[in-house]
Amino acid sequence: MKRTRWAGRAMGRWAVAGALASLAGVGAFLGIAYRSDLPAVPTPKAADFPPELVSRGAALATIGDCIVCHTADGGVAYAGGRALATPFGTLYSTNITPDPEGGIGGWSKEAFKRAMRDGVSRDGRHLYPALPYDHYRRVHDGDLDAIYAFLMTRPTASAPAKANDLIFPLGFRPLLAGWKLLFLHQEEFTPRPDRDAEWNRGAYLAEGLGHCSGCHSPRNLAGAEETGDSAYSGGVAEGWVAPALNGSSPAAIPWMADSLFTYLRTGIDGRHGAAAGPMGPVVHGLSRAPEADVRAIATYIASLSADRPRAAPKTPSPPDRTAEAAKASPAGATLFAGACAGCHESGAPMMTQGRPGLSTVTALQLDRPDNAIRAILQGIHAPTGPAGPAMPPFAASLTDAQVADLAAYLRSRFSDRPAWTSLETAAATVRKEDSQP
């Protein structure tokens, strides 16, 4: 009895000690996690900002593509509310117009910079890394001033924030402090002395505001970008493959700065194909950004794959094996003749305008068929306006099995790489996603 009681008391003591220890742990963690709120300030007036600063901010915000995530379909620019699907649930972007209630009208410059660099809201709440503050840490102070000036001079919209829908327990924001402890170590950009000014400008923009590797690098289980050799080795964005931009680039013809510039500026390059999926809005922004900045980005990104072997390809010209492909996928050949040839067969009106032949299109060279299937089902929306590259969607006219036949035909006709597998399942997956509201 005595023993039992002692034992009981001892156990009680251990429990108390354990509880205290874990409380201390939680306390220490909350200590790190806690960020104070910064006082609300009266909304600055547009006249407070010199016009040159605002227009520089506009150019930088265009390169950062703030508008894409922070505007809902058909919504007011920068008023937020766009649903961002992540592997951890759905986030809704916030209102970054200078509205004092729903937007950032009450944010001081300091509060804005803290959000951009540390991912902390003015009220002290941690922000999810869907806001790529891991990139924005690299941005120079003066450029953040300019973006602040630009945002504070936008028309206000009083859209309140929409509640996020995340898997348990990620709705508990202090956890983000742990994520930041592990992954938020980026420093302000410093130029590399062994590279020229254009390259350094490109690196600054691409690694900072442009956050190119946000899509073009793989992410780890915690959703953080992989770095080192894995940087730019390809990722996924909204179900589209974001192809590798480093030495493992799958492009049929290696990217050079000139062709990249054309692609980023116009949405299409005659030797690589058209911007599709989430790359469309990126190109839309860059088609309006300062030309020299886009050239600089092209120079930097092209340098990432400079170590890719540029020896003569196996076949002297890009593959186009009509007969073999028709034998491998006769059903696909028939579908191609009726649905695609009017634009894509050599001699078609579109081809005489210098559009890329399918054997140079990267979507057909990737390991995964996703981009080709998405382009067939959803089409390509002209990213730069009516004159840009566009393709009609075929979701209504072709079944999943037909899309699979067609994709198999395209792969065997226009690529030297191994045949794709499970095409019908891939088509069904994309179609299901699309039919969701």
């Binding site: 058909g74 028939t334 579908l335 003749a337 009726g338 649905a339 009017g342 634009c343 009106p349 579109m350 566009a390 393709m391 009609p392 075929f394 979701a395 209504a396 006219s397 072709l398 079944t399 037909q402």
Partner: protein, 163 residues
């Protein structure tokens, strides 16, 4: 090769190359001349028909791909004697100038009405965006679609009143 097409509820067995665009077969073999050839590139919508209830460009649809599937053309919505709801609305609004785009416009609009009972202005505009009218009667076309929505509500209300 024999392809069996189900158009506006009727089956047709046709001897055709399966890669022939559905539009050609509708017009040349079945003499359903509502759908028009505008661009042949999926850019104008003049050739729009329904395949299994969804609007599609028949100029880019290989006929072999739609064997056995439900195809509906503007002729399936009504006739000159007994026009369907949208056809009446387009006539009332005098939405046609040359008329070349109209069959495609009507089929495009029909797909929306089939799916959304009471579409708002934004939905109508977003849905109709795919189709072009070279005469520029888009404003009348939009009015016609709105009128069809209102007519349908009127008919429904009348039906509810009647015992």
């Amino acid at each position: 090769m024999t392809v069996t097409l189900t158009v506006n509820g009727a089956d047709h067995a046709l001897e055709v190359d399966p890669s022939t665009p559905l539009l050609y077969v509708l017009r040349d073999d079945l003499e359903l001349n509502g759908a028009k050839y505008g661009c042949g590139l999926g850019q104008c919508g003049a050739c729009t028909v329904h395949i299994d209830g969804k609007p599609a460009f028949s100029c880019l649809t290989p006929v072999g791909a739609v064997a056995g599937r439900r195809i509906r053309t503007v002729e399936g919505l009504g006739s000159a004697e007994a026009p369907g709801l949208l056809q009446q609305a387009f006539e009332k609004e005098q939405a046609a100038q040359c008329g070349y785009c109209i069959a495609g416009m009507i089929m495009r609009a029909q797909a929306l009405l089939d799916r959304v009972p009471d579409p708002d202005e934004a939905q109508i505009r977003a849905h109709m965006q795919t189709n072009l009218c070279r005469c520029g009667t888009h404003m009348r076309i939009l009015r016609a679609v709105r009128r069809a929505v209102a007519m349908r509500k009127g008919v429904q209300a009348a039906q509810e009143v009647r015992p």
